[in-house]
Amino acid sequence: DAMVIQNPRYQVTQFGKPVTLSCSQTLNHNVMYWYQQKSSQAPKLLFHYYDKDFNNEADTPDNFQSRRPNTSFCFLDIRSPGLGDAAMYLCATSRPDSDGYTFGSGTRLTVV
């Protein structure tokens, strides 16, 4: 089945230690998104790629970076995780003219 896969499901990292979360898709969608969802809060868009074009949200901290080496893969890099970065990170894809997203299962990040 075509889907969006996020690895790992759970990630524990140390305070200040760089961490990378991965997302892959078999849908061949142009657009890939990263959302951050903290407990009891709405998912918040961090950035997205439209093909190779990177679009950062104005309030996304510099600590968060992303890479998209090809259509299928997209990575979220957190350069120096702080305790406040503990959250569920959701990857999603869409076509630019489509009517919704396809979401991955998310990666729950814990910072110790």
Partner: protein, 115 residues
């Protein structure tokens, strides 16, 4: 500030009760509206969407939602809930009204249905 508001953070119902979850948004102009559901341990899934036309939209699993433009609302309803509807429900808005789909989510409503 532009936002999406869901009125209830937690709702507890008995099976067969009727459900209505509120959603209001503050974006002007043309918007596309969505409800997503997240079952325990699973990813977000699309329940239903509204782009244009009939403001009463029917989705999967017996859910429906009504777009009331004058009230900036898009409330989710189900006449008779089941235990399997226990999940978190998110309202979302695409404020651009099409093209690039930048979704803005509400904070979610956790629904617990008791047998």
């Amino acid at each position: 500030a532009q936002s999406v508001s869901q009125h209830n953070h937690h709702v507890i119902l008995s099976e067969a009760a009727s459900l209505e979850l509120g959603c209001n948004y503050s974006y002007g102009g043309t918007v596309n509206l969505f409800w997503y559901v997240q079952y325990p341990g699973q990813h977000l899934q699309l329940l239903l969407k509204y782009f244009s036309g009939d403001p009463l939209v029917k989705g999967i699993k017996g859910f429906e939602a009504e777009f009331i433009k004058s009230k900036f609302s898009f409330n989710l309803r189900k006449p008779s809930v089941q235990w399997s509807d226990t999940a978190e429900y998110f309202c979302a808005v695409n404020p651009s009204g099409g093209g690039y789909n930048k979704l803005i989510f509400g904070a979610g409503t956790r629904l617990a249905v008791h047998p």
